[in-house]
């Protein structure tokens, strides 16, 4: 029944003897293990950090994201959000125009005017992010100063923060990192007398967050918070007794900011798949002294459920060769999950940026000599991909249809970011996302493949 081989590292992550592991990976980045890490420079085909607004504005329900940028920035968010206009969205762009550039209009006055108009329209807002872009950075608009000034005027009703989602500094998911990092200095301080607490860091779907909350509660971990919270007023507090678990692999700056506030990172792989989720939970359990049998009792049923639902796709996916183009920084944990729990073979794992320390646990779990490519030169990578003829390619929206047209099955990486995939109950869904292209191929008449496209 259980097609998943028992994960080898599971034991070491169990509460009883995992303390050492935890320590070792917080102190130094271990050697990258058996993976081969190459870096590449050239043309990238990745979104910029502004894209994060598409999910962050849904996550923080009383926040507004105001990009200070160009028409391109406005068009990017709109295209990434797919022109799916729900209600009036809680994001907008203050488009810099000629008058601003020529100095005819004072940029700060203009910004104040735009923000005031916005606040008038949306009196329900509690948190306003000024989001920097390439143009605002190149012309050196100081959005942090502007945020301080506006905050002074608008507090206590609205707090104003600033971060950069610019393409010259951030790729795709790094926008979330920058956003969360900007929240950290404003978190309420806890003293050394505060009870030890756990903070889960990184935007998760609300349903996933609730599942984790229940699991931690059942383990008896009393003080658990999530960053970001769903409302501005509910952001967690922080202090020397805060232990934090990263739920996402791209939170470099946020982690640094949390550590500056005294919080301590718990080292763990990321909660993707049954194994990743178990290890991730185990890291918290170890730190909070949860007894091994209690941990077992709490995680046993959901873990088995996850294993069963993943196993359903094992036959279809095992031995299939997969190639990742860099996109969300979720590539390495995804690759680990696919290789260990589904038996897929990793041809190349591209990632825009590799945080060796945060990913130490993940790297150690990859099959030996996995090829990881950090950065991108998209044309070269396409050459390699075509030569390798993988069974499945994970790539951005710009590449997917052209590769399909060449007969290469694809999975768009943005779907992996927009779908709840973390935790036990989503492990099967995650596997299904990768299986779907194969299922689809089987369903469609072979005749369709010969007929040329458009």
């Amino acid at each position: 029944m259980n097609a998943v081989p028992p994960p080898a590292t599971l034991k070491s992550a169990m509460p009883a003897d995992s303390q050492l592991d935890v320590l070792s990976c917080t102190t130094a980045a271990p050697a990258a293990g058996p993976a081969i890490i190459q870096s590449e420079r050239g043309q990238r085909a990745v979104f910029c950090g502004l894209t994060g607004i598409v999910w962050l504005h849904r996550k923080i329900q009383d926040a507004f994201f105001l990009v200070v940028g160009s028409r391109t920035c406005a068009h990017l968010i709109q295209s990434a959000a797919g022109v799916m206009i729900f209600a009036e969205p809680r994001f907008a762009t203050a488009i810099i125009d000629e008058r601003d550039l020529a100095g005819i209009a004072d940029i700060n006055d203009e910004l104040d005017r735009v923000v005031n108009r916005l606040i008038e329209r949306r009196p329900d807002l509690k948190l306003l992010f000024l989001v920097g872009s390439c143009p605002s950075e190149v012309i050196k608009i100081d959005l942090s100063r502007a945020a301080l000034r506006l905050s002074r005027d608008l507090m206590p009703n609205v707090r104003v923060l600033a971060y950069s989602g610019s393409g010259i500094e951030t790729t795709f998911t790094q926008g979330e990192d920058a956003c969360l990092a900007s929240l950290v200095p404003g978190l309420a301080a806890e003293t050394a007398a505060a009870p030890k607490s756990l903070m889960v860091v990184g935007a998760l779907a609300d349903a996933v967050e609730d599942q984790f909350r229940r699991l931690f509660a059942d383990m008896g971990i009393a003080h658990v918070s999530f960053l970001p919270a769903r409302h501005a007023a509910d952001m967690p507090s922080i202090g020397p007794n805060t232990r934090y678990l990263l739920a996402q692999p791209f939170l470099t700056d946020t982690a640094r900011a949390l550590e500056e506030r005294g919080a301590v990172r718990l080292c763990a792989p990321f909660p993707l798949g049954a194994e990743g989720t178990t290890e991730w939970l185990a890291a918290a359990a170890a730190e909070f002294g949860v007894a091994p049998d209690r941990f077992e009792a709490v995680t046993d049923a959901p873990r088995q459920r996850a294993e069963r639902s993943v196993a359903r796709y094992h036959e279809r996916l095992s031995t299939k060769r997969i190639f990742f183009f860099p996109d969300s920084q979720l590539e390495v944990p995804m690759a680990r999950f696919l290789s260990r729990e589904l038996g897929m073979q990793l041809v190349e794992v591209g990632t825009p940026y590799l945080h060796r320390q945060h990913l130490a646990g993940e790297l150690a779990m990859l099959p030996s000599s996995t090829l990881i490519v950090e950065g991108q030169d998209v044309d070269q990578q396409l050459d390699r991909c075509r030569a390798a003829k993988p069974d499945l390619v994970v790539c951005g929206l710009g590449l997917a249809n052209p590769l399909e047209a060449e007969g290469i099955a694809t999975k768009w990486s943005i779907e992996l970011v927009f779908t709840p995939v973390q935790g036990y109950e989503q492990a099967g869904d995650l596997a299904e996302l990768f299986a779907r292209p194969f299922v689809r191929k089987q369903l469609l008449s072979p005749m369709l493949e010969d007929a040329s496209c458009s």
Binding site: S79, V83, I95, D97, I107, G398
Partner: protein, 540 residues
């Protein structure tokens, strides 16, 4: 600084991409940061193209800014030439690169590539997508067709006896609204009329094809937003006359044929006697009487908005209650058209303003872009998309041109299908009390759209939406749209009850009209009497 929620047009370099991607053998090197590569997905996802757009981005990063972004640009041009071997290239900067002033034109000409390299200056902080497309096409045409220009003052050589007249079709691009099918339809039409198409450009044309634009007898400007500057230059340089009538609708198509025939020196009469569309009969047939004077709001790019408004009014008998465009370059033309329909033109690229204007007019049908589709959905008003900006559904699998006689057939269906069918509407009126006609259940053609809205505060009950368009906006949006009635009279219980007997999809209008009537006549309390007085007053 302009606060923008949604934009109708992308930046001008996206317009340039639409030109390059439509062409063959052309490559675009764009000095731009990595995020700007999002534009690829417009073509590969929305238009489902099976190839990447022929665009190389330099994707410079912050750490490159201190160093040599110029060198980065040059190596990108060199590599792109080596890899793709295009017949010609365009080079330029996106908004960010414009600020760092690297001079893509100068840098690439220093490379001495053996192909024409055309520099583009597209001011990102002033101009937008359609302007960028028009400017790019104009530059390409000048550089590539320029060398074969006749000496100034030389007259066009006479067409050889017996040769068919020929023309160029100018304006279709990648990501254009139904451009693919319009070109097919108009090419077929011209062929039957006896006119040969020399070159279609930019879509499908190679640089070599652009070089022979001057060989045609005249030019047809299918999409003025894109082709007008190039066509004007061709007229001046090659003495090629322009056909500017947009063949959308039966009347306009006939006028187009007449104009083409006149310029080509052929007789259109036999063709016009034979060719036709089903639209005229469908429109005259009795089923269509329910369309009479239905209120329609039209918004889009100038070409489509003007043509569709004329078609709606003259060929379907609808009443145009609003007409507008986001193409400021064509504000004058849209104002003239609006005047013909007795309305004031809305020239705006502010989505929120467009939304407020639509709500204010209480249309029964909205003909607009993907943006207006969302507005209409929220207001519970049927809608059809007639113009870019586009989405996946605007690239249908079936043949569906907007232009020519077949285009008129397509438009009849497009405009009429979102509405309830004539008898369906009558039955709902008569048997309002039928237990199966539930308020709040959307008619079948509106269902699905509303049920998908994940936004909690979005009002999904069609009844409410239909009952008060303004209120729906306020609820859905927290949008301080001004309520039109300054003081609203109160309703007696009986009048409210009577009002509820009116089908939900016209109830909003009945309520509004009654309140307006009460207001104008200083009636403070609305009774059943007032309701019917108002009905008599506004009766249609």
């Amino acid at each position: 600084m302009q606060l923008t929620v949604w934009t109708y047009e992308g930046p001008p370099h996206v317009g340039a991409m639409r030109i390059a991607t439509g062409m063959k053998g052309m490559h675009y090197v764009l000095h731009a940061p990595q995020g700007d590569t999002y534009a690829d997905l417009l073509f590969t996802m929305i238009e489902r193209r099976d190839q990447r757009p022929p665009v190389t981005y330099t994707t410079f990063q912050a750490r490159d800014l201190g160093g040599d972004t110029a060198e980065l640009f040059q190596s990108a041009v060199r590599d792109a030439y080596e890899r793709f071997r295009p017949q010609a290239m365009i080079v330029g900067a996106s908004c960010t690169a414009e600020l760092i002033q690297d001079d893509p034109g100068g840098l690439s000409s220093a490379l001495n590539l053996p192909i024409p390299v055309i520099p583009l200056e597209l001011p990102s902080y002033q101009k937008k997508e359609n302007w960028g497309a028009a400017e790019t096409f104009y530059r390409i045409v000048r550089v590539l067709a320029g060398p074969s220009a006749p000496a100034p003052g030389a007259s066009r050589p006479e067409r050889a006896a017996g040769a068919r007249p020929s023309c160029n079709l100018l304006g279709p691009t990648a990501l254009g609204f139904r451009h693919r099918d319009d070109v097919t339809e108009i090419t077929r039409l011209l062929d039957r009329l006896g006119v040969t198409v020399n070159v279609v450009a930019p879509m499908g044309a190679s640089p070599a094809d652009i070089a022979r634009l001057g060989e045609a007898d005249f030019n047809i400007v299918l999409y003025p937003e894109i082709a007008l500057p190039a066509a004007n230059w061709l007229q001046k340089t090659f003495g090629q006359p322009l056909v500017k009538t947009t063949p959308i609708g039966v009347g306009a198509t006939r006028a187009f044929v007449t104009e083409v025939a006149r310029i080509a020196g052929i007789d259109a009469a036999p063709f016009l006697a034979e060719e036709s569309s089903r639209l005229p009969w469908y429109s005259r047939s009795v089923d269509s009487t329910y369309l009479t004077n239905k209120r329609v709001f039209v918004f889009g790019d100038a070409t489509h908005a003007i043509a569709i408004a004329d078609l709606a009014a003259n060929e379907l008998g609808l009443k145009v209650v609003g007409l507008g465009t986001y193409s400021r370059e064509f504000a004058r033309e849209v104002r003239e058209a609006a005047a013909r329909h007795g309305v004031e033109a809305l020239i705006s690229d502010d989505y929120l303003e467009v939304e407020a204007k639509i709500a204010e007019q209480h249309p029964e049908l909205v003909l607009g872009t993907q943006m207006e589709r969302h507005i209409a959905k929220r207001l519970g008003v049927p809608c059809a998309v007639i113009s870019a900006p586009v989405h996946v559904q605007d690239f249908p699998a079936r043949y569906s041109p907007q232009m020519g006689f077949e285009g008129a057939n397509v438009l009849f269906d497009t405009l009429v299908h979102p509405l309830m069918m004539g008898l369906e509407e009558h039955l709902l009126h008569m048997f309002k009390g039928d237990f199966e006609f539930k308020d709040g259940i959307a008619p079948s053609h509106l269902r699905g759209e509303g049920s998908r809205q994940p936004e909690p505060q979005a009002e999904t009950q069609v009844e409410r939406q239909a009952e008060s368009a303004e209120a729906a906006i306020v609820v859905a949006n927290d949008h301080p749209a001004k309520l039109s009635a300054a003081t609203v009279a109160t309703w007696t219980q009986d009048a409210e009850k009577e009002l509820r007997k009116i089908p939900f999809f016209v109830r909003g209008k009945a309520r509004r009209n009654t309140e307006l009537f009460a207001n104008e006549n200083h009636v403070a309390v609305i009774t059943v009497e007032t309701l019917y007085d108002a009905k008599a007053h506004f009766g249609r």
